[in-house]
């Protein structure tokens, strides 16, 4: 479904992704772990279409199509979703209405019937339970005055409504207490299907106890330096990133 080859990206002349390769098949969950500043969020934002980053080399193919050629909204319309590490507050735009506008522009782009207010409300009622989101947050402006945990849950809620094919979760677990973490994980697990893939970026192994990955990658300094099964996450937890960082240096 997603194939990244030798991707190099920079911002303001500073190289951040330095030849990254990765392949994710439909139905799989891949975890990306790595120290702060290794370029995890940059990868996530580049995949979602952030224009701040210069693509210097490499390719990204999504369902056989050149993903890098598409505008951010086109990627979303084709099923790419990014749960932001730092969800943006948008005062003045109601969470419900924003999500309805988003869902309907995606449906419209796909040639599907747009949902009317009643149908949308029904969908929201259903999905809001999945992430245990306080319904009052639906009426408030997007992320405005939400707590850290509420923002993360709201991202998962958006994901549940938009039903992407490729979901990228950028440290959705950071700053969550264990109950919130379980809820987020349950939200993700409920969406796991054969046709859907997840790229779960995390700093800690903890989340992976609840969202069990098929593959774990370790990212250091803009590259994947090691890939393995879920036991790699445990190994990292006990040994730290040090041994892989030296490996990256040697490469």
């Amino acid at each position: 479904m997603l194939k990244i080859e030798n991707l190099k990206a920079s911002v303001e002349g500073q190289e951040i992704l330095r030849g990254l390769s990765l392949e994710v098949k439909a139905g799989e969950v891949h975890a990306i772990m790595g120290p702060n500043g290794s370029g995890k969020s940059t990868l996530a934002q580049v995949l979602a279409g952030r224009e701040d980053y210069e693509i210097d080399a490499g390719s990204v193919t999504y369902d056989g199509e050149d993903l890098l050629e598409l505008a951010p909204e086109e990627r979303a319309q084709k099923g790419v979703f990014l749960a932001f590490q730092y969800p943006v507050e948008i005062p003045g735009v109601s969470n419900t209405y924003f999500l309805k506008a988003a869902l309907n522009s995606i449906r419209k782009a796909r040639g599907e019937q747009e949902l009317d207010a009643m149908e949308f409300l029904k969908l929201v009622r259903e999905k809001v339970k999945v992430v245990d989101l306080d319904e009052s947050l639906m009426k408030r402006p997007v992320n405005d005055g939400f707590s850290g945990g509420e923002k993360k849950r709201n991202e998962i809620f958006h994901m549940a409504v938009l039903e992407p094919r490729l979901a990228i979760l950028d440290e959705t677990d950071s700053g969550l207490d264990i109950d919130a973490l379980k809820t987020v994980a349950a939200g993700v697990n409920s969406l796991r299907t054969d046709g859907r893939a997840f790229l779960v970026i995390t700093h800690y192994q903890r989340l992976l106890e609840y969202i069990v990955p098929d593959v774990v990658h370790v990212m250091v300094d803009g590259r994947i330096v090691q890939s393995g099964g879920k036991e790699l996450a445990l190994e990292l937890e006990s040994k730290g990133y040090g041994w892989l960082e030296s490996k990256a240096g040697a490469a």
Partner: protein, 448 residues
């Protein structure tokens, strides 16, 4: 206040018709104290002249285009077909309709015997009563501001509103000032309004300024509001004249003890618009809110010059002005707050925020605080900038295209003001304007 003499009047093409008009009005219309006020105003204007950008108060407002145009008053009697008025009306209001500054009686709800304690009249008629005539110019003397002088010398009509002590005006009073340029002649009007609000009275007044065609025009209105103790007045002004209109308006309110006055000014029409707005907080516990939204593009210029004067202790003022600028538009927000020595415990807040949608648009923002009391709280803030790229990206990453994302965020910027517009029909009209102005307006309409 002394005004430096800096005149360009002698060679102004606008002058000839003005002087003639003063002459005519002097001969036929006014008598008694009003006549001398008008003469005084005429002299003041001759002395002051059209302001130039060399004057500090007019540094950013270049009125030379106005001074160089030969504007004439509309010679026709004020008549208008009802269907031409219809698009400007709001449901649930009492209306007074003016064409080029004169009341169109047939279209105005002047017979309001069903509303006790309320008087709504053509100002020209009301002036026959000395008590009314005496109050003209009581807040805005004719010798300090060139366009107040011009209005005072030349106004023909306007609206007189009186709400007796304890009376309440149920429906909003909608004053519809329509401009028309007969045979394409550049046309000037000087509407003059006086609101006398008794103690504990309540009213809502909307002033709409709009054009019936897109000929060149100058509207030069003056509104004075005497708000009695504990009265509550909600004032709205909508400026949606054509892009060939010039609008130079002066407004002054005097608040008495515990008066609660609020004003919301919406400006999106006009080539050159300037609002000089003054509030005198002249009684303890007076509360004054002055909010505004301007939405401009192309070559438009909109200036808001605010002057809030705290004269008594425990007075409160709050100003929120938001601007959305596109194209080569230019705006000025000048916010003066003057706190007298006696006005302890003053609480004054002022905020001006501008959103730039183009790189060419310019928003000037000048807070000016003059504080002579020591125990006061005055805060002011001003920001001017583009939309946050990160927010646009967030929306786009959820499937909303760039134009719609930009429009949504622009609407969101305005919504803080929009939500404050209590009169529902007016709020909807403003929303519809914003939707029509924003690309991808349908998405925005859905999303808010």
């Amino acid at each position: 206040m002394s005004v430096p003499v800096d005149t360009q009047i002698s060679d102004s093409p606008a002058l000839g018709p003005l002087l003639e008009e003063m002459q005519t009005l002097g001969e036929q219309g006014s008598t008694g104290p009003l006549l001398s006020l008008r003469q005084h105003a005429g002299e003041a204007f001759r002395r002051l002249g059209f302001p130039t950008t060399r004057l500090e108060e007019w540094r950013f407002t270049d009125v030379s285009r106005v001074a160089n145009t030969r504007f004439l008053p509309d010679p026709r009697p004020p008549e208008l077909a009802a269907e031409r008025l219809a698009p400007f009306l709001y449901a649930g209001c009492r209306n007074v309709v003016l064409l080029n500054g004169r009341v169109v009686s047939e279209l105005s709800d002047l017979d309001i015997s069903d509303a006790p304690g309320l008087t709504v009249r053509s100002l020209a008629e009301a002036l026959e009563e000395p008590a009314v005539a005496e109050r003209i110019g009581s807040l805005l003397p004719p010798d300090q501001h060139p366009f107040v002088a011009l209005n005072t010398a030349l106004f023909r009509d306007g609206v007189y509103l009186e709400v007796e002590a304890g009376a309440r005006l149920e429906e909003p009073l909608h004053l519809v000032f329509l401009g028309e340029t007969p045979d394409g002649q550049a046309t000037v009007s000087y509407p003059r309004n006086l609101f006398v609000l008794g103690e504990r009275s309540e009213c809502t007044v909307i002033e709409t300024y709009a054009s019936l065609d897109d000929g060149e025009s100058l509207t030069c209105p003056v509104t004075e509001v005497l708000a009695g103790a504990s009265s509550v007045c909600k004032h709205f002004k909508v400026q949606k004249e054509s892009l060939a209109a010039n609008h130079l308006a002066s407004f002054q309110v005097r608040l008495d003890r515990a008066t609660n006055f609020s004003s919301h000014a919406i400006t999106h029409g006009g080539a050159l618009v300037r609002n000089d707005v003054g509030a005198l907080l002249d009684g303890e516990g007076a509360v004054c809110t002055l909010n505004g939204l301007y939405v401009v593009a192309g070559e438009q210029q909109v200036d808001n010059h605010m002057r809030v004067e705290h004269k008594k202790p425990h007075t409160y003022s709050h100003e929120l002005f938001k601007g959305i600028l596109d194209g080569n538009a230019k705006t000025v927000f000048n916010g003066r707050i003057y706190v007298h020595r006696e006005a302890q415990k003053t609480d004054a807040k002022q905020s001006n925020r501008n959103l730039l949608l183009s790189d060419q648009a310019i928003a000037h923002s000048n807070p000016q605080l003059e504080i002579f009391a020591d125990d006061v709280r005055c805060t002011h803030g001003s920001t001017t900038g583009h939309l946050e790229e990160e927010a646009v990206f967030y929306l786009r990453s959820r499937g909303i295209d760039e134009a719609a994302a930009t429009s949504l965020l622009t609407y969101a910027f305005a919504s803080e003001f929009v939500d404050l517009v209590e009169v529902e029909a007016l709020r909807r009209d403003l929303q519809n304007f914003l939707f029509s102005r924003l690309t991808g307006g349908d998405i925005v309409r859905q999303a808010v």
